[in-house]
């Protein structure tokens, strides 16, 4: 039987805490994502060289997308959503490298990311409208809607998690099966498809997080 996609391999123990493979991969990705922009932004110039131009293109592109969805100044949302998107793209695409499993293909990483989105939705909602007014918005339009609204908050975070996990994991699982059945070069088109799926899922995760935050910040703006 194939190894379970729900379990992750334990690499080593740090005291009593088991460190699994996705956690180690995430640390490497975090280190790369911290160091590369740090080195590129050491000498920022008014006339950007190539590397700075690429970074500026990424940042302004994400800002433009956030602004189109929220129709507000994207700056308050840029740190969390931009980091989310860049991390997701890197993590989803890291599965293409030989010997690396995408950390988003295990249940824990999408769960953590969905929890970050869940927390930041309420953070931005409370910050924009005040705690009482934000809490009261759950009982709108009628008090009857209160349990439904609360359940929908939880289920949409859950569905964010399951969507990302399911897409990335199923892609890797199918490639593993085809390698086992058909041999070396047959899964290459599927791996190309997996690159597309990884980028699209990162985009969808970020856009949905943006939509949720936008609807928490401004109730009239329902996506």
């Amino acid at each position: 039987m194939a190894p379970s996609p729900l379990a992750s391999a334990v690499l080593f123990h740090l005291g009593p805490v088991p460190i699994t493979r996705p956690v180690a991969t995430t640390w490497v990705i975090m280190a790369v994502l911290t160091l590369v922009p740090w080195f590129v932004t050491r000498r920022l110039a008014r006339h950007p060289d190539r590397r700075q131009a690429v970074l500026e293109l990424i940042v302004t592109g994400i800002m433009g997308q956030i602004e189109e969805v929220t129709r507000k100044d994207p700056r308050p949302f840029l740190p969390v959503l931009g980091t989310l998107f860049i991390f997701l793209v890197t993590a989803n695409l890291s599965g293409v490298l030989p010997g690396v499993e995408a950390p988003t293909g295990k249940l824990e990483t999408p769960a953590a990311l969905a929890f970050i989105v869940f927390a930041s939705v309420h953070f931005f909602g409370v910050r924009a409208r005040g705690p009482l007014s934000y809490l009261a918005s759950f009982a709108k339009p009628k008090l009857v809607m209160l349990p439904l609204n609360i359940v929908s908050e939880i289920t949409r975070a859950f569905s964010l998690m399951v969507r990302l996990f399911g897409n990335v994991m199923s892609g890797e699982f199918i490639i593993a099966l085809i390698v086992a059945f058909a041999g070396l070069f047959v899964p290459i088109p599927l791996m190309a498809l997996e690159i597309l799926v990884g980028v699209v899922q990162a985009y969808i995760f970020t856009i949905l997080a943006t939509v949720f935050i936008a609807s928490a910040v401004d109730p009239a703006e329902q996506g």
């Binding site: 379990a7 996990f165 949905l208 939509v211």
Partner: protein, 80 residues
């Protein structure tokens, strides 16, 4: 019947039946989006972004079925 046999059949059923609805829905929504883009090519950006988000929502249903199938196959609470 053996619990493993039942779980395998149930997993196959969950994915195969559960894929029908999302497939039809995704086909309809893509067709509608194509129609809208053909009528209003200048709104293509907005339409395709909304389409992506909608497709993701629809696709979640199929992914739920996949997760149910995986739980039945790999984390079955009844086989112990």
């Amino acid at each position: 019947m053996d619990i493993k046999l039942i779980s395998t059949i149930a997993a196959a059923l969950a994915v195969s039946v559960g894929a029908i609805g999302p497939a039809l829905a995704e086909g309809r929504s893509v067709a509608a989006a194509m129609d809208a883009i053909a009528r209003q090519p200048e709104a293509a950006g907005t339409i395709s972004r909304t389409l992506f988000v909608g497709l993701a929502m629809i696709e979640t249903m199929a992914i739920y079925c996949l997760v149910i199938a995986l739980i039945l196959l790999f984390a079955n609470p009844f086989t112990g």
